[in-house]
């Protein structure tokens, strides 16, 4: 144990307590309160991310929180899905990229590690999980409906989520997810072999002892996985009072692209709007 860390831990506890007092639950759905279920409505920040009020970051840095695979572990893939994974990672390694730049929605489960705020709207029959990042919204139904017939309904990036409350835990099951989404990676499988067609994601969502929203997830995929994959718990901190949901439009002014010939990521310095002198970076030239 690092001695200096002890008082800092107390500081963090104090900050957490202050934040909890400052924000508290949002104007909770009265219906949810009536039902005796927790109110998880409100704005939440991924713990350790650049929008976490306890992290100091420029958003373009590599803070010490940004280590390891996105979910803390990787699943054990098999068969054609393992081959597909190896092909993707080899292509990325060849260009020195950790993942392929894209503005395309991530889908389940990768959107759960999106780096920006999450806004939850809860009613007795539905929970909407809206992400700032890439504007993804999950709709989680609590009205007792079943998953659609996959023969009839095409799969989607967010999949189809149904849920029920077990005490203070929202138990969610998601199926019918497009096979471009990947497991434990940050990006897509362009060959649609990121996972199998029968994959089911089972989540337990609750407010933990520290007042953080916690999401435990288990992925079952008999086609692609050697055994079910349990990801490291994801946690979210209530946003400080006054912080609002923000729009994020990735396609707007995007300066990142992929070189079609090499597959390498290209960052383009944007053109100056009011150049104070001749632009020594030659306006807009790609690097």
């Amino acid at each position: 144990m690092h001695i200096k860390a002890i008082p800092l831990a107390h500081v963090v506890i104090g900050l957490l307590a202050a934040l909890a007092v400052a924000t508290g639950p949002s104007s909770a759905s009265a219906a949810a309160a009536k039902a005796g279920t927790p109110d998880i409505s409100g704005l939440w920040m991924p713990v350790g991310s650049s929008v976490d009020p306890l992290v100091n970051s420029t958003g373009a840095d590599n803070p010490d929180t940004n280590v390891g695979p996105p979910f803390g572990s990787l699943p054990e893939l098999k068969g054609v899905y393992l081959d597909s994974y190896k092909k993707r990672t080899a292509a990325l390694a060849a260009t020195g990229s950790e993942f392929k730049t894209s503005c395309k929605v991530l889908g389940m489960p990768t959107n759960m590690v999106g780096p920006y705020a999450v806004e939850i709207m809860q009613t007795p029959t539905q929970v909407n999980w809206a992400q700032e990042f890439l504007r993804e919204t999950r709709r989680i139904y609590l009205d007792g409906r079943a998953h659609p017939n996959p023969e009839e309904a095409p799969p989607t990036f967010e999949g189809h989520s149904v849920a029920h409350w077990e005490g203070k835990v929202l138990v969610v099951e998601t199926a019918n997810i497009r096979q471009e989404t990947t497991l434990g990676e940050y990006g897509h499988a362009d060959d649609a072999l990121g996972h199998g067609p029968r994959m089911v994601i089972k989540e337990r969502i609750f407010i933990n002892d520290q007042g953080l929203l916690q999401v435990d997830g288990r992925v079952e995929d008999p086609d692609a996985l050697v055994k079910p994959w349990q990801w490291k718990s994801l946690t979210f901190r209530r946003a400080p009072k006054g912080v609002e949901f923000m729009e994020f439009v990735c396609e707007d002014n995007n300066n990142e692209s992929i070189d079609a010939a090499t597959g390498a990521e290209v960052t383009t310095i944007p053109e100056r709007r009011t150049p104070s002198q001749p632009d020594n970076n030659k306006k807009g030239e790609a690097k």
Partner: protein, 124 residues
């Protein structure tokens, strides 16, 4: 705020630490290097998905403009850097990870000291 002790504290509290990502991987930058510059703000493009900061730096008798990529407004507003925080003419110091193409004076923002002394990012 120094991130290292904070993470250590989070670990003591048993809080899992999630990972932070952007929509691209910064492969065009040498994230293992740091360059420190001091200069005058020439322009701020406060846009999604990334804010770009242009800083004029005196280099002998010439002025070089550095183009510096930061996170997006979703991050920076929460860190206290609002759309009107920096204006042309403001004096700043910056630590950046330079572009791998050394012909460019560009970088990814690692830490920024505002005119009032406030710092975002881990100043090293």
């Amino acid at each position: 705020m120094n991130i290292k002790p904070l993470i250590c504290s989070l670990a003591l509290l048993g809080l899992p630490v999630t990972d932070a990502f952007a929509h691209h991987s910064y492969a065009a930058f040498d994230m293992g290097k740091r360059v420190e510059i001091g200069g005058t703000v020439a322009e701020v493009q406060y846009n999604n998905p990334h804010v770009w900061l242009f800083v004029d730096v005196q280099d002998g008798g010439t002025t070089k403009t550095w183009a510096i990529e930061a996170g997006g407004p979703n991050i920076l507003m929460r860190q206290g850097w609002m759309a009107n925080t920096l204006k042309p003419g403001d004096k700043v110091t910056v630590q950046l990870a330079p572009m791998k193409d050394e012909a460019k004076t560009g970088g990814a923002l690692q830490a920024l000291r505002f005119p009032d002394g406030k710092v975002i990012g881990a100043w090293k």
